[in-house]
Amino acid sequence: MIRERTVNAAILALLVAVPAWAQWADEPFTITLATRVVIFAVAAVGLNIALGLGGLVSLGHAVYFGLGGYAMGVLASHAQNYSPLMEWPLQLDGTKSMPVIWLTAILSSALAAVAIGLLALRTTGVYFIMITLAFGQMAYFFAISWPAYGGEDGLSIYVRNSFPGLNTLIPIQFYGLCLAWLGVVLFLNARLARSSFGLVLTAARQVPQRVEAVGLDPTRAKLVALVISGAITGLAGALFADLNRFVSPTMLSWQMSGEIMVFVILGGVARLFGPVAGAGIFVLLEHLLGGISEYWQLFLGIILLLIVLSGRGGVVGMLSGRGATHE
């Protein structure tokens, strides 16, 4: 059996080696695929903080993903059309600067998570799953029918946004940015899991009554976890929109929420590198199976099913030979 640490190191090595090879072999599309993996991984790491540490089965993380996407779309489209974002009470212009867009994505997703969390955390278990799903659907239908920012057509940006000192249109440079973000959120996740907050949060998942009995507030810990989680997924949304130079309500759909969750479970819940492995395998399957058959989703379904039924804590769990982290 391989240790989980070895598996993690292998994943990290792949994230560096594959794009490096692709750059050398002049296979820019492989870099694009790898960028997709890394961005999905950021989104899934975000969800894993709520799901793995806090036990919050949110089936509405597409809200944050989409919100991040729209943060990019709205700001960049205003900059692209030279129309101000708002004129009153103060003049605000759009921007094509990635750092500003990221900050906006993070803040707006965090705010949304506060609002959703305050309501949704009144419920638990399956009700929580459903109420987060409902918030997702609300956002989705709103985005589809609200005409100001393209409705179902979405928003298209002609040129990728800019980052000081880089040419983001070159695939490997944009990949580097995304990989750096993945490193940051993985680091954050690892530290969070070992911190005081992480201790309270994981205890709140297992024994909320105990957390209360020692005078701490389990619900507030979960709320904060949801906010951090939403902010990270929102950031991933902004990156994803920039990768595609496009944002649409599809990013807010419940299938998107389902996919982010699939990344996490496929790789292994509450495992640091689980979401990364999950996103990688999903994109790879989509790409390979899609090349073999029109009915590739049938095979994807079967593979997913087999992985869940084997019940060994996702792919990282299988490889490192340790069962589910919590039962």
Binding site: L51, V57, L59, L119, A120, R122, T123, T124, G125, V126, Y127, I129, M130, I131, L133, A134, F135, Q137, M138, F141, F142, I144, S145, W146, P147, W254, G258, M261, V262, I265, L266, V269, Y295, W296, Q297, L298, L300, G301, I302, L304, L305, V308, L309, G311, E327
Partner: protein
């Protein structure tokens, strides 16, 4: 807006609510008895519609088609329970969500593989076609009226089944205490398969009944699935009564919201804009309703446990 129109719209809301109930009843039973979240319930709805369309095409009989829908969906449900679902009872909700998400993919693509990408044809039988005139001069499609009646009859039947029969007692016992009913010597795995097949059959029947007035195509189940989830969450998971009340609330909210919200917005803004904005809010109405109910009662209207 005339009174006739309002009555007609209320009937429409009832009709869509009653059909939602058929979906929601199975979902809520399956969750109540087995503690399972079944995202693939919408696929069983689709299976029913496709089975009905295939049989109606071959035999020309609508009644046979409905029978086929019921049987095919129940059978599909039974098989899925035996092969997959059974392994998920002890798992947490997360595994259930992923596994049944995978089942959606398998069902959808499998159906497309069998029947192709083009929508199928299933129509109302001649003896139920066309409108009838109700007291007060309301013209209303006979078929929709029949749907309301069929739905209410099934709701009543289900109520009797749960409250009066042996199997109903076992189901209720299963909701309260799983170990207990195993201790009583009930074959629990048979009971589970039976409940799952019953829920699947109801979903399939709903698919066929609704398929006759909608399009029978791959993916038709998912929007209904989400509405059905909204229903059982509002009603309280595990409660058949809750499912009925929730389904009617959702049906009426959806139907009436779509009509009155744009009218409401016309009071504030110009008609074209009001229509678009009103419709936008109307499409969110049932989710707002659900969020409001959950904030007020975190376990739904008739939900017992957290």
């Amino acid at each position: 807006m005339s009174a006739i129109l309002i009555v007609e719209q209320v009937l429409n809301g009832l009709q869509s609510g009653v059909m939602l109930f058929l979906m929601a009843a199975g979902l809520t039973l399956i969750f109540g008895v087995m503690g399972l979240i079944n995202l693939a319930h919408g696929s069983l709805y689709m299976v029913g519609a496709f089975a009905a369309a295939a049989v109606a095409g071959a035999t020309g009989s609508f009644v046979l088609a409905l029978g086929a829908a019921l049987v095919a969906a129940a059978l599909a449900g039974g098989i899925v329970e035996l092969v997959v679902i059974r392994r998920l009872y002890g798992r947490d909700h997360l595994d259930q969500v992923l596994a049944t998400f995978a089942l959606i993919l398998i069902f959808s693509e499998g159906t497309r593989w069998l029947f192709g990408s083009f929508p199928l044809y299933l129509d109302i039988p001649d003896w139920l076609a066309g409108p009838v005139t109700l007291p007060g001069g309301i013209q209303y499609p006979l078929y929709r009226l029949a749907l309301i009646v069929v739905g209410l009859v099934i709701a009543a039947g289900l109520g009797l089944l749960i409250s009066r029969t042996r199997i109903g007692i076992q189901i209720r016992a299963g909701e309260n205490d799983r170990e207990m009913i195993a201790a009583l010597g009930v074959d629990i795995s048979r009971l589970y398969t039976l409940v799952f097949a019953l829920g699947a059959g109801l979903a399939g029947l709903a698919g066929a009944l609704v398929g006759a007035i909608q399009s029978v195509q791959v993916g038709m189940g998912e929007p209904v699935l989400i509405s059905a989830f909204v229903v059982i969450v509002i009603g309280g998971i595990g409660s058949i009564k809750g499912a009925l009340v929730g389904a009617l609330m959702v049906g009426l909210t959806d139907t009436l919201g779509g009509i009155f919200l744009p009218e409401l917005f016309k009071l504030f803004t110009d008609p074209a804009k009001a229509t678009a904005t009103g419709s936008a809010f109307a499409s969110m109405a049932i989710y707002v309703l659900m969020a409001a109910v959950l904030v007020w009662r975190p376990t739904g209207l008739f939900g017992a446990r957290a």
